[in-house]
Symmetry: C2
Subunit: 204 residues, 2 copies
């Protein structure tokens, strides 16, 4: 299997951590891939028209996306019910937490594009503020949700580590550690896992 | 159960169609909800910090998101394997098709915000073009994928109907019917379902 990958993508990082935790990392070849908003990439458009990272390309050529579905696929390959509970109320809790975190990451990327990629005279502060607030309010939600911070490893916890790592990577001065001390402690515990530690984004 | 809803949201439409097809529509109370980019909505932020439509609020207060996870939840309530195949290669095909369509919708909304909502002097043509091309190239992918257009009803087909309906709603002059005649025929067939017909967005 091949995974389109960039060390800067929090979505690709999530899949990488999951693949390590599921014992499947050795079956995946990483294909370095770069996409930039506002710029065509015809080669990658042919693989996935929405041009998002990552996608998983199976040996028969089938393409699996998005990052969440890839983790579901890998989880099933590993026997099922490992990072996504197979049944019960926890299943929907983990899935919904993950969707919220996915939306937070989407908003953080939109905020970064607005503040750092878009031509400077075209920036709209209200848009950047709105998307930053979505991520920031999402962090507050998890700060006050003790079960999320203490239950066995799941895909939502991995996504939360990726959100916090992305905050360090692209919004280094945002002050999340001071505002959210329980998330800080959670993040430190997550960093004790080699999968999380090895995948920290390189300095921006 | 309560569903936050707007007739203009293609994500809410997808859930509405799925709920009708699964025979669960009578169990869901629609809660009219309005969100606008760049504008706070504190009440809705308390329900879901990322402020996206729709979310499903269960009778015990649990909140399920996003639209895809809601459909998975409803599908399971209806017995499972109805709109999302329960196993096999088709399962990953339908899920990946759906993720692609979800990304296309995200791009269409970003394109609309750029061209119609953002203050006019702050618009960036390359960004709008990039996101429109993602949706347009995605339509081309499905135009050339006959199995998608003929297999039994699934969540990806519902999402494709929502993509095409959203193109009519917000990009009425884009010419998708002429460019993609097989999608046009598919869309006409989908409109023969009451669930699809009743949920067509109102005139913009």
């Amino acid at each position: 299997m091949k995974l389109t990958f960039s060390p800067a993508s929090p979505f690709a990082r999530k899949v990488r951590i999951a693949a390590i935790e599921l014992g499947l990392i050795d079956k995946i070849e990483f294909v370095p891939t770069a996409v930039a908003p506002g710029q065509p990439n015809d080669d990658y458009s042919r693989i996935t028209p929405v041009k998002k990272l990552p996608v998983l390309i199976l040996d028969n050529g089938d393409v699996i996306l998005d990052s969440y579905v890839i983790v579901e696929y890998l989880d099933e390959l590993a026997g099922g019910g490992k990072l996504i509970p197979a049944s019960g109320a926890t299943r929907w809790k983990v899935k919904s937490d993950h969707s919220l975190l996915q939306g937070m990451l989407d908003s953080m990327l939109l905020c970064r594009y607005e503040k750092m990629v878009r031509p400077e005279p075209l920036r709209w502060q209200a848009w950047a503020d709105d998307h930053w607030n979505r991520a920031w309010n999402g962090m507050a939600r998890f700060e006050n949700q003790p079960d999320m911070l203490s239950r066995p490893l799941d895909i939502a916890q991995i996504a939360l580590a990726c959100v916090l790592g992305y905050a360090d990577f692209r919004f280094a001065d945002c002050g999340w550690r001071k505002a959210y001390p329980k998330l800080d402690a959670f993040h430190e515990r997550m960093l004790s896992r080699p999968s999380v530690k090895i995948s920290v984004p390189p300095p921006a």
